[in-house]
């Protein structure tokens, strides 16, 4: 299992290839990548991601451990960046490996749902006319009930 909280960019191709290698008994690898999205007005200059060093790594490890157990994954990976990012940059990725695709897909969704609302990250958007913290969405909280 690889958990990385980092400010540097990551290479999606390299990470995915490294993750998919060396799992001869795993027939499926699913990856998801989150990208900084500009708003519909095109006024997003940058996004700053703050996190809670120490707790972040712990929370991500716990979430990934849960996913590995629940879906009998062969492996899981979470990379999440912090600091300043501009539209188009990759913020984070998750990857899951399992014997069959259904578990890999479901576990990847679970990882995403949980790390959105339970890992200590906060996004602040810097728009052309000012900065604001991104509000948590009720729908993100609601999506956790699916896994209870």
């Amino acid at each position: 299992m690889k958990i990385s909280v980092q400010s540097e960019a990551f290479d999606l191709g390299e990470e995915s290839t490294a993750f998919a290698k060396g799992h001869q008994d795993q027939g499926a690898v699913v990856t998801f990548t989150g990208i900084v999205r500009d708003n519909s007005d095109g006024t997003l200059e940058k996004m700053t991601i703050e996190h809670y060093p120490g707790m972040t790594e712990k929370a991500l490890t716990e979430i990934a451990d849960q996913a590995v157990k629940r879906w009998s994954l062969g492996d899981a990976l979470v990379i999440h960046r912090y600091g300043d990012l501009v539209p188009g940059e990759m913020i984070m990725m998750v990857a899951t490996a399992s014997r069959h695709r259904k578990n890999a897909f479901e576990a990847a969704e679970y990882l995403m749902d949980y790390l959105k609302s339970r890992a200590p990250f906060w996004k602040k958007e810097f728009l052309k006319d000012g900065a604001e913290w991104v509000d948590a969405k009720q729908e993100d909280e609601d999506s956790l009930t699916r896994w209870k």
Binding site: K58, L115, W133
Partner: protein, 84 residues
């Protein structure tokens, strides 16, 4: 009285003005710590005005405002998380 590190993140940090401070407190729970801080200065009262808009972690574990802080080293306050 005991010392506990209190951490603030995102807009809570901005409103209070520091990311971290050592606080001398006799509070037994998170809620009591919030009351003590709020009584100190307006900036705390403003940040803690609506605790339903806040989340709290004790020693880096998410918990509730009625949780004990006896023996805790670190209490952190922040808005709902927005990762992903």
């Amino acid at each position: 009285m005991k010392m506990v590190d209190v951490l603030y993140f995102a807009w809570v940090r901005e409103r209070i003005g520091v990311p971290k401070e050592a606080v001398e407190t006799s509070a037994a729970t998170v809620a009591e710590l919030v009351s003590e801080l709020s009584a100190r200065e307006e900036r705390y009262a403003a940040a803690f005005a609506d605790t339903s808009a806040l989340r709290v972690a004790v020693d880096q574990e998410l918990t509730e405002f009625d949780a004990s802080i006896t023996g805790a080293r670190e209490v952190a306050f922040f808005p709902p998380m927005t990762g992903g």
